[in-house]
Assembly symmetry: C2
DNA sequence: TAGATTGTTAATCGATTAACAATC
DNA sequence: TAGATTGTTAATCGATTAACAATC
């Protein structure tokens, strides 16, 4: 039995749909349509229906989609029907902001450990977590079975840190360092660099 | 005379090329090829050549591309041959991290003012800038002629803040709030939400 | 000259949209 | 029933890749 391969670009839109559905839920809404969702997101209704149809039939003709139900289904598809533990590497400005960010848990994640290589920072508290020595990161991460990491270290150190994480069993990395990581293809990497986004907007100014 | 319209997706790759070229420059490299660049970035050499050819002829057969020259040309294309002033709205954890980030200037930007609506924060210093009252934001931003903004306020306030910025002349917004903004089409918006990226990786775990 | 690599064309591949039968 | 909206097919549109003549 062959699992149908879903294009990356479709998977990448699901979190956006989910976020919009969650906003609607907070507004007390019960049902929506592909058209309404599309207007909110600047995506055609046909595309939304086609994307969702890759994973099943979640709507009802004439009515649309039940919002809490569709949100639940998308969470299941994305494996967000659980809380993923995250290891954060880097306790500088960015690391501190990440550690203090309150929005993870509601959307399926929690930062459970922080590492740094700076002796000044190791042992200090960062928003309820104690910064640990990166020397011992590999064993601790493997032991904890953590699969998701965020890297917030200087560009020069990011590749090395990423390799250690992969070696320790991490399979998804959100990389804040402005550098392209080279990792085995089974490891997912997303680059998260504000400058890249700013730089692509100035073209149009 | 009609300007050729360049697809968004090509413009979006230029900052990535530029970043790789800057890394090569720091390593003292003088020339590269579309193939080498492609390997570093996980992009086909044909695509890199085709992308660049939209804007001119920057390479030399048999040799490749002169790195500092190509970097300069890409900077010109993206209008990064100057420093863009940025207004930052929101002085919470994220705003503080942004204000403290050292990497803007080298890549064409600088945060020149910060606003918040919290009386406790207004008047306090944040990495060499004083937090100003958001009440007066419109006039100050318009006066300064600022075209680029970063929004790091709670989701519920982001739309309102964005509208004020647009009204004040801002034409490019990097939005850290997890919500889709609705703005006139001439305003560029990039959403910058770590959860969206994390959520699209868990599908593959 | 021989080898390397560009810029570009044509072919392929994949994603988006339009349209509509099915049906709630 | 009449109106609305889904899921899906076929058509369109756009992006990527392969290949190669030009040329450094």
């Amino acid at each position: 039995m062959k699992e149908k391969v879903i294009p990356d670009i479709i998977v990448a839109r699901l979190p956006i749909y989910l976020l919009a559905l969650q906003h609607m839920m907070r507004d007390g809404r019960q049902v929506t349509s592909s058209q309404e969702l599309g207007e909110k997101l600047g995506i055609s209704s046909a595309q939304i229906r086609k994307d969702l149809s890759q994973f099943g039939e979640f709507g009802k003709q004439g009515t649309g989609y039940n919002i809490p139900y569709l949100a639940d289904e998308i969470r299941k598809i994305l494996k967000l029907d659980r809380i993923w533990d995250i290891v954060l590497v880097g306790a500088g400005d960015i690391g501190r902001a990440i550690a203090g960010y309150q929005g993870f848990y509601d959307r399926g994640f929690q930062v459970v450990m922080i590492f740094d290589n700076d002796f000044e920072k190791v042992g200090t508290a960062l928003h309820s977590l104690v910064v640990q020595d990166v020397t011992y990161m590999g064993d601790i991460v493997r032991q904890a079975g953590i699969k998701v990491a965020m890297i917030a270290v200087p560009a020069a150190e990011a590749q090395h840190v990423a390799e250690q994480l992969v070696e320790a069993g991490v399979r998804a990395i959100l990389n804040y360092a402005p550098i392209a990581l080279h990792l085995p293809p089974e490891v997912r990497v997303e680059n998260f660099d504000p400058l890249i986004h700013l730089q692509k907007m100035t073209y149009y100014l």
